[in-house]
Amino acid sequence: MDKNRIRAIPRRKFLEMSMKGGLIIAATPSLLGHLTSCTPQSAAPGLDLEKPVLDRVIAKALSRGGEFADVYLENRISRQIIMEESLFRSGLYGISQGAGVRVVCGDKTGFAYTDEISEENLMRAAEVASYVARNSSIITPVNIATAERESFVSVSQPLNEIADERRIEIMERANQAAMDYDPRIKMAKVDYYDQVRSRVIANSEGIYLRDELPLLFFIVETMSEEGNNRHMSRERVSMHTGFEMFDRHTPEDVARSAARESIDMLKAEDAPAGIMDVVMINGWGGVLIHEAVGHPLEADNIAKGIGAFTGKVGQKVAVDNFTLVDDGTIPNLRGTINFDDEGTPAQHNVLIENGVLKGYMTDILSAKQLDMERTGTGRRQSFRHIPIPRMTNTFIENGTDKPGDIIASTKKGLYVQSLSGGSVNPVTGVFNFTCREAYIIENGRKVQAVKGATLIGSCMGIVSSIDAIGDDLDFAPGICGKGGQQAEVTCGQPTVRIRGINVGGSRA
């Protein structure tokens, strides 16, 4: 069974380019496109295939049968700089370009991809993908025409106008702030990473779409040491936006947040073991719901009839005031997508409303299989992968409790401030989480930092055990892995309390 997992390690890829960083550039025709501007029509010239070519590829894909075919062209330019132990260790620049052709025939999918975007290679991929539809009836695809989609990504300082010196400066500021925070900070690692992903989507329903998504991902890791105690912590910010992200999230803030955890956790004792009430911090605490409830609400396992929430639409599955939303339209967040990788517009999907299951997150295939709406959540890691149902920005809606009151009214329990990550089996709904920073709550107060705590439970158990929901909704960026594919997501929630989670620590 594929496990769905949010990884603790940052993905090392992707960026966009700058032209003011003193770069030596061979002015090849393929590069001039990148240099002139970041407007969608010129940023990735490899994607400039004429529409009639794509029509021919789609027709070829459906030439043996099948009811749906699409072509996905992608160009990704990435840049990464890594600073460790106050040294700039390496700079990485990458270009990845290619195209995938897919044919859907009943419940079957045929798929092939090519690294080289040319009519010849695309026709060959279409031929391979069409194999799956042997002997079925043949339809005529609709000729493609440009479709309109709203954009939820705004940029005021385009990445391609930022000199590399400014990237370096941001990293130096973060490193300095981390090392200055406390002499017990022994190591800092700063990972700067940005990318521009240009994509073209064309399908047999006549859709043609093209856009460009910039992405910034900035990570600071720090390690503290005192005697035999060490603690490694991490803070990340990531948005689909321009360099203005660093006005909202200064490198110093990011670094100090990581360093604070490293220092505070030096005092940590071993975590206790047993069942206890758990208060989860707002923002990144939402990763627990992402895993425990979000993944089981993705429609692929529902369509197979094996998902934990199969057949439960309209049923009460959670406590009364629990509302869970997946929304790919929140401006500039890491999980925001404008439209998904099948061309369906992103939208505000209420998954669970006041405890009642409202629907699942679908892609084109699972929506068809379940006879449900497309929800704009068919996503793919790259042209080398087929689309599958995925989350975007997933969050618990605000409740009415005050975060301070939630802690104050907890007699004995665990306050979870930071999680490394976790995973869920979407069929059984059984999940696990590793806490990086947690505190024992006694008589309504956080009294002692504890390390090494694992949280385990089941999705059904957790949504019926939430008994307090705060009014402080916040979001945090994550990397979500599923079926061998990674996706950029945001997790969100207000402070919540869950009664009776099994906590695994090394102390009785």
Partner: protein
């Protein structure tokens, strides 16, 4: 295209464009994936791909670029990008490339037969393994079966004279099933992965393995929070010992982020623990003639009878540590700079069968599944979610799930008191079952 020549040419071009030294890592590959569910094809994916990663060193500074556009203009641009990017970084005398230190002969990395087997036969195998697994009366659903294959070539050339290549193949067949009973739902997955098509395990064994995993933990009971002996089944040993491997990474040690950084030649674990990394095993799924930067692979004992004997190095980290590369440069494909990784890891077998270990355990836990991050390489602490069987009076009493298990490095690594003999050397992390004298269990 002659990729060996291309790699060598790109090294020369890098030097001409201003690099002091250069390395080209070129990867080509072909892959096929067939997924079956409910006796019909779910997906067929097929593709061929190629890409190149270029590492340059300029004035002691490292730059890197990668591209899957293999046109001359794109590759020239990639070189220029890498050189430009190098200028941003900090000079470091440890930024060096390896010289040619020869070649390790490793048998059985490539099987031309895989590509010759017909598509229909591969589909038939995936159909069959699902059908066999569904014949188990306790199995209620299929979550799908699959056949996968990939083959490819690696070309490495650098300005210190290395120009090497090898070809490898890989195939696998597997199935996942669900057992439902009342409100309970459990999943089981089993697969066989080999370099040679003819070495794949029988479909019957794979199917029955998946089915058993799905139903064997049905009707679990809860046990109370307590300290108890814990037996790690051979299939979950890596979830614990993976953290030890991570802790002997030379880079982690240099960063001061390893609980074993000051333990060289010291006894940190029970004498039952011997761990070897070997890149030269014939047909090994982790084997290769050379590592991710062209350094020959070898067999190395990392832990000998509980004594730490070796850290893992690539060329750059070795230079920083004043050591030699151990042939452990890993490469997550052509898009990555070399990291540090292992080849085939295995533990020395003990003398006990798993049955012996169980019958020697008056009361305790046999782990069949572990979730979570495993042993933390920074602190050596372990905490995870676990399920398996409860043992009473030396016999399996009932299944358990929803428990946690935790312990410190000291408790765990010095606590291994029985080592099994049930090792499966076909795994790239091969371990027998073993028992830890006492761990903290979290339950009701």
């Amino acid at each position: 295209m002659n990729y060996k020549e291309l790699a060598e040419t790109l090294v020369e071009r890098s030097l001409r464009l201003g690099a002091d030294s250069a390395e080209v890592y070129l990867q080509t590959g072909r892959n096929l994936s067939i997924r079956i569910r409910n006796s019909d094809i779910e997906t067929i994916q097929e593709a061929a791909t190629a890409g190149v990663g270029i590492r340059v060193i300029v004035d002691g500074k490292t730059g890197f670029s990668h591209s899957n556009d293999m046109s001359r203009s794109a590759l020239d641009d990639s070189i220029s990008r890498a050189i430009a990017f190098a200028r941003l970084t900090t000079p470091d005398e440890s930024n060096v490339l390896p010289s040619d230190a020869g070649y390790t002969e490793v048998e059985g990395l490539y099987d031309p037969e895989i590509a010759r087997v017909s598509m229909d036969r591969k589909i038939e195998m995936a159909l069959k393994v699902e059908e066999l697994a569904m014949q188990d009366p306790k199995i209620t659903h299929s979550s799908g079966s699959s056949f996968g294959e990939r083959e490819g070539e690696i070309f490495i050339a650098n300005s210190k004279g290395i120009s090497k290549t090898y070809r490898s193949s890989f195939c696998s067949v597997g199935v996942g099933v669900v057992a439902e009973k009342g409100d309970q739902r459990r999943t089981g997955w089993e697969s066989s992965a080999r370099r040679f098509f003819g070495d794949l395990e029988s479909l019957e064994d794979i199917a029955s393995g998946a089915a058993q995993k799905a139903w064997e933990l049905l009707d679990p009971q809860m046990v109370r929070t307590q300290r108890t002996p814990v037996i790690f089944d051979s299939s979950v040993a890596s979830s614990l010992l993976g953290g030890v491997i991570s802790a002997v990474s030379g880079e982690r040690v240099l960063q001061g982020a390893s609980f074993l950084q000051n333990s060289m030649d010291q006894q940190f674990a029970t004498s039952l623990l011997t761990i070897t990394d070997d890149g030269t095993i014939a047909k090994g799924t982790g084997s290769s003639p050379f590592d991710g930067e062209g350094v020959p692979t070898r067999k190395r004992v990392l832990v000998e009878n509980g004594v730490l004997r070796g850290f893992l190095y690539n060329t750059q980290i070795a230079a920083r540590a004043g050591a030699e590369s151990t042939g452990n440069a890993s490469r997550g494909g052509y898009t990555r700079l070399p990291g540090i990784g292992t080849h085939n890891i295995y533990l020395a077998s003990g003398i006990h069968s798993q049955e012996d270990i169980i019958s020697a355990t008056d009361r305790g836990l046999l782990l069949k599944s572990v979730t979570g991050y495993g042993l933390n390489p920074v602190t050596g602490n372990f905490s995870g979610g676990v399920s398996g069987f409860w043992i009473e009076k030396g016999k399996i009493a009932f299944p358990v799930e929803g428990l946690t298990a935790a312990g410190s490095a000291e408790q765990i690594l010095n606590g291994i008191d029985m080592m099994g003999n049930d090792i499966d050397m076909n795994r790239s992390f091969a371990s027998p079952s073993f028992r830890i004298a006492e761990m903290q269990i979290g339950g009701s």
